[in-house]
């Protein structure tokens, strides 16, 4: 379980999060949604220890963020970086191989290589394995990053707006992959999403944030409503139900 307790955070004296507490039990996809500046990315980066936690406590299973060793945490919690955040010229196989780093610290053994090959097969990346990251499409690149996070073999996975700059086909295929990872491998996925429709279609639980606080929390069909859109996002878009999933008409 990821447990967030009384977390507040300010950036340059501007308060971003106000006393946020949230529990994310093992299993399923939890999506953080909310308008720009609501603090969802900040909350995720605190869990990911990309920003230093100042007030409150966050723990992942038995490991407490800020107190435990980063190396130990990396075996439990994977972060899927955005492709724009990675600079090196790597092949897809090299990138997926890096996912094993927390386990071998630079000296991969046979089981690490096996895991990399298995991951490449599972993500359909074998034909592209020798290609460099800057030679493949945005969707394939994002798939490679998901594969890297998968190869890390952690029970938890964090993603910050992975659908940025992806077209509809690539977005759906990435969300489908995450869905498979949650269902087949029992991974717990915490994801920040911009698009409520993607969140409602693929997540098990939505946590809606507004002005640094949690405004709503629950199953998509319970949370997404015209009233929520008006209250939290300040827009009057209609919501209808399709196949028991709420859809926002834009």
């Amino acid at each position: 379980m990821i447990s967030i307790r009384n977390v507040s955070h300010s950036i340059d004296h501007h308060p971003i999060l106000h006393d946020v507490s949230l529990d994310i039990p093992r299993g399923g996809i939890t999506a953080l949604i909310g308008p720009n500046g609501a603090g969802k990315s900040t909350l995720l980066s605190l869990v990911a220890r990309l920003a230093a936690l100042t007030t409150g406590e966050i723990s992942v299973d038995t490991l407490q963020i800020g107190k435990c060793k980063d190396r130990d945490l990396a075996k439990v919690l994977a972060i899927m970086p955005q492709s724009t955040q990675v600079s090196s010229r790597l092949t897809i196989r090299d990138l997926v191989g890096f996912g094993r780093y927390p386990w071998h610290q630079g000296h991969p053994g046979p089981e690490d290589r096996e895991k990399v090959e298995e991951t490449l097969t599972r993500f359909g990346l074998e034909p592209l394995a020798h290609r460099f990251l800057d030679e493949v499409s945005g969707g394939q690149k994002q798939r490679a990053f998901a594969a890297m996070a998968y190869a890390q073999s952690t029970p938890y996975l964090l993603l910050d707006e992975p659908l940025n700059n992806l077209d509809i086909a690539a977005s759906r295929s990435l969300m489908r992959l995450l869905r498979d990872m949650a269902e087949e491998d029992g991974k717990t996925i915490l994801i920040v999403l911009h698009d409520i429709n993607y969140a409602a279609a693929f997540a098990d639980r939505l946590v809606v944030m507004k002005e640094g606080r949690i405004a709503a929390d629950g199953k998509p069909e319970k949370v997404v409503s015209a009233k929520l859109l008006y209250d939290v996002f300040g827009t009057d878009a209609p919501v209808c139900m399709m196949d028991e999933r709420p859809v926002v008409l834009v």
Binding site: A48, L77, P81, L90, D94, F98, G99, Y101, G106, L158
Partner: protein, 322 residues
């Protein structure tokens, strides 16, 4: 492919070493061998230090056209020299025992580097840029102060400064060499031990954190090593850039760029040795050709500056086109 290229580099390196030791020998071998060997050791130490520190610096700044010399190490060296000559005169400078001067240079340069780098610790990735800019501005300040002092110095004493503000390998003090080695060799070993962590840090802060590396800690450790390596190389041989007044030392830039070209890999276990070997080939081979084959008196540093300038422009233009 990499294996063959390393074989070629090894052969070239062996050729330059043998050429340096044997070509143009005059007099008895029993004198020549130890005399040339100590110069060779100094050349090799300086090459490896500058190559490794440049690769480390480029990795932690995520920038292929920066070298640690933007931090103004060379400028500080010339400033210390000028300040001493200004205060005590050329005779006073000559009277300072070489080991004391060496230790002073080493301590001051490492100290300044660390002060500058501690600015970095406070922030995120953007602060590397701030640090580099601070270093450049500080370098300009130091150069201006140096120029000011030099204008007030007796012209004959100014000659003293000029003659020692180029990297030189004509005479190597064995004690200085030993002291530089004592500082540089452990730093090199530590840089080598960081190689896998550097691969991960090169992925960028988000990916590195996710994989359990703390980028800031790695950057800090690398910066300490860079300070020690650059300072000991400069204290041993003098500044590699043009009299401490050039825009940057292009030597590190050339060898790092060549290493990326000749042995393309993201792995520091490839890049570090390849850059180090290329540096030795450039410096030892270059020195052999200049001194023994062409009998030129032009300092090698000048030739390296010219070639380095061209490399720098090519790198810039390539980036723009890419």
């Amino acid at each position: 492919m990499l294996r063959n290229r390393f074989l070629i580099l090894g052969t070239l390196l062996a050729l330059s070493v043998v050429g340096y030791m044997t070509l143009g020998a005059v007099g008895s071998w029993s004198f020549l061998i130890p005399f040339r060997a100590s110069k060779l050791a100094a050349l090799a130490l300086v090459s490896v230090c500058l190559a490794v520190s440049t690769v480390l610096f480029q990795t932690i700044t995520a920038n292929r056209i920066l070298t640690p010399s933007v931090m103004g190490f060379d400028a500080l060296y010339v400033f210390i020299l000028t300040a001493i000559v200004h205060s005590f005169g050329a005779a006073g400078y000559a009277a300072i025992p070489a080991p004391l001067l060496f230790v002073m240079n080493l301590v001051l340069m490492t100290g300044m580097g660390l002060v500058l780098f501690s600015l970095l610790i406070k922030g995120g990735r953007g602060d590397i840029l701030k640090m580099v800019l601070t270093g450049i501005v500080l370098g300009i300040l130091i150069r201006a102060l140096t120029g000011f002092l030099q204008r007030m110095i007796d012209p004959s004493e100014f000659q003293t400064i000029q003659s020692v503000s180029f990297a030189r390998f004509t005479y190597v003090d064995k004690l200085n060499l030993a002291m530089a080695a004592v500082v540089a060799l452990p730093a090199l070993v530590m840089a080598w031990r960081m190689r896998h962590r550097l691969d991960v840090i090169a992925l960028g802060p988000v990916a590195a954190t996710g994989l359990g590396e703390t980028p800031k800690r790695g950057q800090r450790q690398a910066l300490v090593l860079i300070c020690l390596l650059t300072a000991s190389a400069t204290a041993l041989a003098g500044p590699m850039s043009s009299g401490g007044a050039g825009p940057s030392s292009f030597f590190g830039l050339i060898v790092a760029a060549l290493a990326h070209m000749i042995t393309p890999s993201y792995k520091h276990s490839v890049l570090l040795p390849s850059a180090a070997m290329l540096a030795c080939i450039t410096l030892i081979g270059g020195q052999t050709v200049m001194e023994r084959v062409l009998h030129l008196s032009t300092p090698l540093a000048v030739v390296i500056e010219v070639l380095g300038g061209i490399t720098f422009l090519i790198l810039l233009l390539k980036r723009r086109m890419a």
